[in-house]
């Protein structure tokens, strides 16, 4: 292990790299497109709400389509009496727990199984068969196994997340460039080095894809669990409201659910940006 010998620097004449210029962009160039897009989004939303409000009542039966005003009033009531918070909190807990359980077990198992090609080849058809089962169909079974408490919803949320994270991560592991592994082997890298310095970073895109696509399913799993059997949570709020023909209540809950979904997506997008920094500059635009 000689750490000392470094070749003498005779430095090659600096070959032409790209020309660097500090770019001075105006506010308009920098933010113009973004402002335009957000302006249109907000405008579209306002138009939608106004049209909805205008049609609801004179043309359409509010009993069926609700109305922005009705939804706002209902949300206001629920905020006032605490219904909104307590139920949202329950559902968010189930989503987050289910997502964590599914994602952690999916990723861990993917690295274990996919790293050994033979094991993967043996298990592949079984995994695919399990993956193909509609996860809703598992709800009755989960009720039998775990009762109608939080566990059942968490697991229902976790199941789909598990498969999506597992399959995407495994695909990432399988796509690792053999030549990169060889390069590390020649550097006298251990199996541990290969796992942590090649396979892990190389499969990160697959893992993140899995996390990203599975987020809506955590929400779906939890809400379905609550719809099937529950006395609290947003899913319960939907089934309870609809049982009372309270369309405003159903729509109000849907609004809350989409806000939660958007928030979760924003979090994962942030994650993706960090790990994909090594992608070429133009890939993110």
């Amino acid at each position: 292990m000689s750490a000392t010998t470094t070749p003498q620097v005779g430095a090659v004449a600096r070959p032409a790299g790209p020309l660097r210029e500090t770019s001075r962009r105006t506010w308009r160039q920098r933010h113009g497109r973004k402002t335009l897009i957000w302006g249109w989004r907000i405008g579209l939303l306002v138009v939608l709400l106004v049209v909805w409000q205008a049609l609801s009542g004179p043309v359409l039966d509010p009993q069926f389509v609700s109305s922005p005003n009705g939804i706002a009033t209902r949300l206001g009531d629920w905020v006032a009496d605490g219904t909104l918070w307590s139920n949202t909190w329950i559902t968010v807990q189930e989503i987050v727990l289910g997502f964590l359980v599914g994602a952690l077990s999916g990723a861990a198992l993917a690295y274990l199984i996919a790293s050994v090609r033979v094991v993967w080849d043996i298990l592949d058809p079984f995994l695919m068969a399990l993956y193909a089962i509609p996860k809703v169909a598992l709800a009755p079974l989960f009720i039998v196994w775990f009762g109608i408490g939080t566990d059942m919803k968490v697991l229902l949320a976790a199941v789909t997340v598990f498969f999506l994270v597992f399959l995407n991560t495994a695909a990432g592991v399988h796509e690792v460039d053999r030549a990169l592994v060889d390069a590390v082997r020649l550097m006298n890298g251990t199996r541990r080095d290969i796992a942590f310095k090649v396979v892990l970073p190389a499969s990160m895109t697959g893992l993140l894809t899995g996390l990203r696509v599975s987020i809506p399913y955590a929400l779906i799993g939890a809400v379905i669990g609550e719809l099937v059997a529950s006395n609290r949570g947003l899913g319960y709020l939907i089934s309870d409201s609809s049982a009372k023909f309270d369309t405003d209540g159903v729509f109000a809950t849907l609004v809350v659910l989409s806000v939660i979904a958007a928030a979760l997506n924003a979090i994962v997008n942030l994650l993706g940006k960090r790990a994909n920094r090594w992608k070429p500059l133009d890939a993110e635009a």
């Binding site: 292990m1 000689s2 750490a3 010998t5 470094t6 070749p7 003498q8 620097v9 005779g10 430095a11 090659v12 004449a13 600096r14 070959p15 790299g17 460039d177 030549a179 990169l180 060889d182 390069a183 590390v184 082997r185 020649l186 550097m187 006298n188 890298g189 080095d193 310095k197 090649v198 970073p201 190389a202 990160m204 920094r277 090594w278 992608k279 070429p280 500059l281």
Partner: protein
């Protein structure tokens, strides 16, 4: 003459594809002397890369054997630095961290390896691009980064697979000069693969011309005096004579 560092005997490599055996190398015998600069010259598809993969110990031979430093090779040969034909830089590491990687794996301290890497990056003319990721570099720049990474491991034997093929002529000449400077008097052994006769003659102590399935068509010592100036040597009568001989051997192999 000094001792052999690499000895290859009856080396064959087959690739199996469905029910077909694809023979890449058959019965290759080759000895590489310690401290020598050997150039393997051959047209594409004649098994040069396959041979280097075997010398690096990345794939096992189908038959025959390779000894390195007198010992039969088993598994990856960590004494060699191998610059493969295609880049193997880690896409998620910037240039500096790629170049440092061999020393990072040895557990060398951050400060130490950063200093060595910085010097090597300057050596290959990539200073200013330390923070760039491989995909943000041109093909030639990636080549130079790979070269720096290989040198960072401070290997005793260098295996180079058409290392300067993608570079412009001027840069190629500069890096050839740099490689010769690194090699001369260092005691390092170099096995250099190319399909360019001129490049072979500017660099080599000895040129081995390979034909189909790695058949050795010609084993030619090159006794041109060093340093060899690429511009002057082209008109040297002995250079012209050697060029003609290698060229004839390559044509022979094509028939």
């Amino acid at each position: 003459m000094s001792a052999a560092v690499i000895e290859v005997q009856g080396l064959s490599k087959h690739f199996r594809k469905d029910d077909e055996e694809l023979i890449a190398l058959r019965g290759v015998d080759l000895t590489v002397e310690q401290g020598s600069f050997l150039v393997l010259l051959g047209r594409s598809g004649c098994g040069k890369s396959t041979l280097l993969n075997l010398l690096a110990g990345l794939t096992p031979p189908t038959s025959g054997q390779i000894t390195y430093g007198g010992k039969p090779m088993r598994g990856p040969n960590t004494q060699v630095g191998y610059l493969t034909q295609h880049d193997t830089l880690m896409p998620w590491r910037d240039v500096a961290r790629n170049v440092q990687m061999p020393r990072e794996l040895r557990g060398e301290s951050k400060k130490e390896r950063a200093a060595v890497a910085a010097e090597l990056i300057k050596l290959v003319g990539l200073d200013g691009f330390e923070r760039h990721y491989p995909r943000e570099l041109s093909g030639g720049m990636r080549r130079r980064a790979s070269l720096a990474r290989m040198l960072c491991a401070d290997p005793e034997t260098l295996l180079l697979d058409e290392p300067f093929g993608a570079l412009d002529a001027q840069l190629r000449t500069e890096l050839q000069g740099e490689l010769l400077r690194l090699w001369s008097g260092s005691g390092r052994t170099v096995v250099f693969v190319t399909h360019d006769i001129e490049e072979a003659l500017i660099l080599a102590d000895r040129v081995v011309v390979l034909g189909p399935v790695g058949t050795i068509l010609l084993d030619q010592p090159v006794d041109l005096p060093r340093p060899r100036d690429p511009d002057d040597i082209r008109v040297d009568p002995h250079f012209v004579e050697l060029h003609r001989r290698l060229s004839a051997a390559l044509k022979e192999g094509a028939r």
